[in-house]
Amino acid sequence: MNDFVIETSGLTKRYGDLTAVDNLNLSVARGEVFGLLGPNGSGKTTTILMLLGLTEPTAGKVRVLGLDPARQPLSVKAQVGYMPDEVGFYDELSARSNLAYIARLNGLPSSEARRRIDDVLARVGLADVADKPVATFSHGMRRRLGVADVLVKQPKLIIMDEPTQGLDPEGARSFLQIIRQLKEEGITVLLSSHLLHQVQEVCDRVGLFHQGRLVLVGAVPDLAQQVLGSAYHIWLQADGPAASLNPALQSLPGVVAVKQEGPDRYLVEATGDLRAEAVKAVVSAGGRLLGLDVRTPDLDSIYARYFQEVKNVAAS
């Protein structure tokens, strides 16, 4: 009826006096890769558990694929794949047996299960070690087996809690590649992380958690604008009279500030990517362009700035 895979309104979870999740309103559209960000203990995992019906909300509403996870958990869990932050397997069983158990719990007929298990193991690159006990697997292999485990049931929504934690850069890169493929197949992905640059690479939108509240939601550039004011930093190296270049750059629409950092160096803070306009402005003001660089906003600085602001507010 609507294209939201996840919808929550006023979702709240309290453990005694502690409010783990506070009045959460979140919508994730079909086919989107959404990143939940925040420091440890900010309510990301609790939110995920409520989405799966593994924890009952104290208040508020949740809809996952149009269903209520607290009342229709079986239908929800049949279509949602969940990879916990520390994914565990039965060490004495082989990778294949571990997946076979999951397939049986999902009620798959054994021939279908065998086919799917071969498929997913090949897909995550574990086909060679399919019959080895999981006890012999490295951390990275376990993570990939975790993905295979999620894919066996062919979910419409995949929820991953800290998927790249503890992976080496190569492992993390191939992991992100897998997430991109999932997106191409039209699977919605919700992932939580505090490794910001990785999240930034794959997520369409992110939500920033702070003490149980979702404080910022949006695409990374939008957030940058919201938090940093100006999202794009453009470095210019240009010969010419500073007196005429400076105002020319300043007058461009979308420019927030222009700083002169050296005799021929300028830093333009803008709300958009204004490289072409800046070049034109420099040339028309009689300058010679020598160098140009742009730094797109990154999540790390948004994150750092946001929490710095929060601290300042708290202190004052």
Partner: protein
Amino acid sequence: MSLQAEQTRAPAKREGSPWTGLWAVVAKEMADHLTGGRMRILEVLIVLTAAGTVYAATQNLKATVGQDPFIMLRLFTTAQEPLPAFVGFLGFLIPLVAIALAFDSINSEFNRRTISRVLAQPIYRDALLFGKFLAGLFTLALVLTAIWLLIVGMGILRLGVPPSGEEVARGLWFLVACVFYGGIWLALAMMFSIIFRQPATAALASIAVWLFFTVFWSMLVRLIAPILSPIQIGLPQEILARAHLELMLSRISPNTLYTEVMFALLQPNVRSVGFVLPIQLDGAILGTPLPLRESLLIVWPQLTGLIAATILLFAAGYVLFQRREIRA
């Protein structure tokens, strides 16, 4: 908003059967039990005990073959110095096996961090817990049945007499009693595995309870009974009341219940497991066997007691498990 409209249409009860996925859990857990090293050790232990005691018993029984209509049942109950009877061994082997099967059933899922992955599948928690319990009970039943068949087979070979229908029926009822006696310890160990995060703690707690009932309970009963039912003048009523109280108290222990069931089922001439006053024996022909129906009637309360205790302990564990937060 659409969200609100949907909320009102959502069913009030949770959907689907709580037993979805039950048999998948049972199959997986039984496979684990039967291939695990722990069970192998216990199986060897039981088989050795059975072989030893039954061999000793057959030595003893060879003299009376032909005179005793229940020779096969005697295999279980005959003791030959220095070995006690096989049923004596079973009294503590069954709790041992049951505790070994269940003391790490739930906490190991938490410790291996498999619990959230398993519960993220379309099953309820009920199926996981009940599946694990059933798998334990089936494994126990399988082991006990195998031992039972071995003993009967050995008896036929060594004594040369096939068991009668009555003996087989009594033996099967005895098997049922054994399984539920094990069920109590299985449910108890499973409950401790939900309460305690560390498997070692759960195992210790289970063994402590077992020791309490096998060793200390009878002592305690002898301490408590005089306080609750003092003998002031020495009237026969007072002495009888004290004896009754002692018996009732000792029946709180599952070991007592099990022993009584065992006696009545395996020794057909047992007429009562409680007190018999001389006046009640008027007209009885002592030493004659009772039919199975009568023997069952004598220990029916004990048998249902064993089953009820199993169910109660499982229910307690079930409630604890449902309330448990899944996040590690």
